[in-house]
Assembly symmetry: C2
Homo-oligomer: 222 residues x 2
DNA sequence: GAAAATCGAAAAGTATACATTATAACTGAA
DNA sequence: TTCAGTTATAATGTATACTTTTCGATTTTC
């Protein structure tokens, strides 16, 4: 990607993820140009990209706003992701290579390490290896198009913004689910892999719901 | 959409669908600007759109080429579409309204009319009502995101370009499948609707394959 | 003679000036 | 006072000039 456009894209995206640019806020090209220290031209291109990534939305007359996700839309994303990623896991079970399986196990162990025996969690390491784990399976499904669809569903501002605070029990279950997914893939059992992955994503959705409810009660308590 | 950008988008897209702009051809912004009688700016925006619609692809260093679909990629699209649209039909079965069902039947009958008893087919009318038929089911699934995903899969240059010449038998089967899908939706049977729709798309894939093989042998005979 | 480096041309990236459109505010009339 | 129409302002859309980068070709050196 070109320099100024990349600069604008990452700056605006970071602003949205951090909350600096609030959901529903009107994004004016000139303001963003000043914020990013580039001209309007690359800002416009960045906004197109952010639009297709669902970080911003265009309303009525070409005005751009920070995407404002309803609970229903977030649920929709989780449901679609469960379906698509379950499907991807099923396909991966029929074609995944030994190398990919080994890499999967490596990331799995890194996640176990990141959680550690003492309950302290390195969130960044956890997220990084979790992402890698899922990406390996998606790639093993062997469909570039499916991978792009899933990427669009996974990289959502709402999910990225919220600090998903897994409880110890949730973490344990999530790790167990990863182990089961590996087993299913090793066995080459597409049905099993699909079921395990679908359940895993639904579990994540549940955890996300609880985190949101906790946030809401915190805000209400203030 | 704005005037010049829309002009550029539709002109370039039409060129790709018609074959005037051949697969693999390098699209230069200045040339396109002249072709569309607009400046480079709206051309650039149109190219971004066409890129996300998979009509063009960016290679190495930001150079844009007319998308060149391999057989494997086309198959991939059909398989994903079968999965997603089958899923959509299943969801639609649980929530479709009486109005939507009535509209579905209307389009179905229009398709029957377009084919007619004498074997002559009005392709435009067929295509139009076929598209409407599928769109109603996709909308009835109640997921904007799913609808967008499917739209991207359906509106493909390869599919649009090829004159899909259904045989009389293929047409008859396709119409029967539509009737069965309506029955499944009316019955509120998600499993049935999913199966019927999945089969319908796989059948379309098969017809497409035959049409391509026929094209290939025609070209070889020249 | 082959490989690497440099130079030139062409295409994409960026900035800015200008055109158009849409929204909001203000004024006038009912 | 309210509604409608007009005008002004502010934002986006478009054109063009300029900058940077890349690809290709030619030349030079090993």
């Amino acid at each position: 990607m070109s320099k100024a456009k990349e600069k604008a894209y990452s700056r605006i995206r970071a602003g949205i993820v951090s909350g600096e640019l609030a959901p529903g806020q009107h994004l004016k090209e000139e303001e963003l140009a000043e914020l990013c220290d580039v001209s309007r031209t690359p800002v416009r291109e960045a906004l197109r990209q952010l639009e297709s990534d669902d970080f911003v939305e265009r309303r009525d007359n070409q005005r751009v706003f920070v995407a404002n996700w309803t609970d229903a839309e977030i649920d929709d994303v989780f449901v679609l992701r469960a379906m698509l990623e379950g499907y991807a896991a099923g396909r991966a079970a029929q074609s995944i290579s030994a190398d990919a399986l080994a890499a999967l196990t490596t990331h799995h162990l890194s996640i176990v390490d990141a959680v550690g025996p003492n309950g302290r969690i390195d969130h960044d390491v956890f997220m990084q290896h979790n992402r890698a784990f899922h990406n390996i399976i998606i790639e093993a499904a062997g469909s570039q198009r499916l991978a792009i669809m899933l990427q669009r569903l996974v990289e959502q501002p709402v999910v990225l913004r919220t600090l998903v605070s897994y409880s110890a029990r949730d973490l344990h279950r999530s790790i167990e689910q990863h182990a089961e997914i590996i087993d299913a893939l090793e066995a080459g059992d597409a049905v099993w892999a699909t079921a395990a992955m679908t359940g895993h994503i639904h579990h994540a959705q549940r955890v996300f719901h609880r985190a949101q409810a906790a946030d809401a009660s915190q805000i209400a308590a203030q």
